[in-house]
């Protein structure tokens, strides 16, 4: 009865580089895996194997060349591979969140507001959203004097923690994590590990790329080795 929240099957990803005479760059072939509620699945494989590309395809950020990416939302299943823009936006609002490697800064918006925005967009009253944002920022050791400042001027590690807070503040069924701990010190890495474990305990399905085996070992139930699905690369006639 435990239906997967995410079921990826038969997925190919090929980049066509029109600026290099239409050269085709096959990356993945027949990729298949599933993620269920409360489960944390980590990607393995060398840099360049296509781990980030898979996350981006699931999020609708990269086109899927072939195959199915079935996401089980509260309102039914949607195939992200073929869904239109409005369906993808609805899935991002209601079903899946994404923490990228870098914070895409919105100019002039303060850190608390940056973190609270995903809640406000989903109808949580602004004072409550900001209160929850402040708690998360405190937990991630962002000094209170920075909360009202735009994160553009923060250090790399601080920006990444703001980014993590923004990604973790919502309660969505699926959370996609692209190296959330890459630029963090040991103490903050532990906080993020705890946050991931709490999400899992609440039933969130997590799919991620984790920097370092230590974090991966602490959070992941299974590893999907993306290299097993590598497309035949090299010279493609």
């Amino acid at each position: 009865m435990n239906q997967p929240i995410l079921a990826v099957s038969g997925v190919d990803k090929t980049f066509t580089m029109h600026l290099q005479d239409g050269q085709r760059l096959p990356v993945l072939h027949e990729l298949a895996f599933e993620v269920r509620a409360g489960e944390c699945v980590a990607f393995g494989g060398a840099s360049g194997a296509g781990k980030s590309s898979v996350l981006k395809m699931v999020y609708g950020n990269y086109a899927v060349t072939r195959g199915r990416v079935i996401l089980q939302g509260r309102g039914g299943a949607v195939d992200i591979a073929t869904a239109g823009p409005r369906q993808v936006l609805a899935a991002r609002r209601d079903t899946m969140g994404y923490v990228s490697q870098f914070l895409h800064c919105v100019p002039r918006v303060g850190a608390v507001q940056v973190v609270a925005e995903p809640l406000i967009e989903r109808g949580i009253p602004a004072p409550e959203a900001r209160e929850r944002a402040a708690r998360l920022l405190a937990r991630l050791a962002i000094p209170e004097r920075l909360w009202s400042l735009p994160p553009a001027t923060f250090s790399g590690g601080e920006q990444q923690r703001v980014n993590i807070a923004r990604g973790f503040i919502t309660d969505l069924p699926l959370l996609l994590l692209d190296e959330p701990t890459a630029s963090l010190d040991a103490r903050n890495r532990d906080v993020v590990t705890e946050l991931i474990q709490e999400k899992r305990a609440q039933g969130t399905a997590i799919l991620g790329i984790f920097h370092g085996v230590e974090v991966r070992g602490a959070v992941a139930d299974r590893v999907v080795d993306v290299e097993l699905f590598a497309a035949v690369s090299g010279a493609v006639a």
């Binding site: 580089m17 029109h18 600026l19 239409g22 981006k56 609708g60 950020n61 086109a63 002039r108 918006v109």
Partner: protein, 264 residues
């Protein structure tokens, strides 16, 4: 309002310049699109790609040579714009639609006070009480971050960024449902641009506006739009979710555009 219906349904739209009996020059052609309430659509492309012609055709400022545009009115009826009387179209402009020009001087009355520029659209829809009009104008100046003590000054005395913010207030004061924007940030300094974009972004979200914004600047499209259309030689060559179009462009021309961005 019916959210299950698009606000605007555009099918096979084309506009040809010049005498149609002679050889036609198509400014844009074969354009299909749906725009939903609350959605921001960016139209990107280089100059000459047809994006401004498309905006003109959609906003009824240029005639349709081909195709149809259906619009869902505030009471949920779907009308064919070509069949509306001129009076009905003028009424839409007063109540339902706005147009933000690249050059604020094209959308403002430059020698009328800022308060007058914002109050005039309200009077056109029947506001009569001077005190109420002035209070509403003052509130809108504040929302677009123009000091209220400038309410009696004419925009001719304003900076470029202030003029553009005033034009936005003049357009939004009647709570339109659909706003067309033609390169609204392109004449401005970078810092002024960022402030204006942030302002547009928050007003659009707050008011649930549908917007069609023409821009040659992909960063503008990324910051404020949900969906993007890429135009070249009068045709839409790629469209989709904005971040998908910009991060994994499929068409050769879109790949060229994206790869031409200077990394800041």
């Amino acid at each position: 309002m019916n959210d299950a219906q698009p606000l605007l349904e555009v099918r096979g739209v084309g506009h040809a310049y010049g005498d149609p009996s002679l050889s036609k020059h198509w400014g844009c052609r074969d354009v299909d699109l749906d725009l939903w309430p609350g959605e921001v659509l960016a139209v990107v492309g280089e100059s000459g790609s047809g994006k401004t012609t498309l905006l003109g055709a959609l906003s009824q400022r240029l005639s349709l040579t081909e195709g149809s545009i259906r619009y869902q009115t505030v009471d949920g009826k779907v009308v064919n714009l070509a069949e509306l009387s001129e009076a009905a179209v003028r009424r839409l402009w007063r109540t339902d639609w706005g147009f933000v020009h690249q050059n604020p001087a094209d959308g403002l009355r430059m020698h009328v006070s800022a308060g007058g520029n914002v109050g005039e659209p309200l009077m056109a829809v029947g506001w009569r009480h001077y005190g109420h009009v002035r209070a509403a104008a003052a509130e809108w100046l504040e929302r677009v971050e123009i000091p209220v003590d400038r309410i009696d000054d004419a925009p001719v005395t304003f900076s470029g960024g202030m003029r553009q913010r005033l034009q936005i207030a003049r357009n939004l004061v009647v709570s339109p449902r659909l706003v067309f924007m033609d390169e609204p940030t392109s004449g401005l300094d970078v810092s002024v641009q960022a402030r204006l974009l942030d302002l547009i972004r928050s007003l659009v979200t707050e008011l649930g506006l549908a917007v069609i914004i023409v821009t040659h600047d992909l960063a503008v499209a990324r910051l404020i739009s949900h969906r993007t259309l890429v135009m070249k030689d009068g045709h839409v060559i790629e469209s989709g979710l904005t971040d998908r179009v910009l991060d994994d462009p499929q068409a050769a021309y879109t790949q060229l555009l994206v790869s031409s961005i200077l990394q800041g």
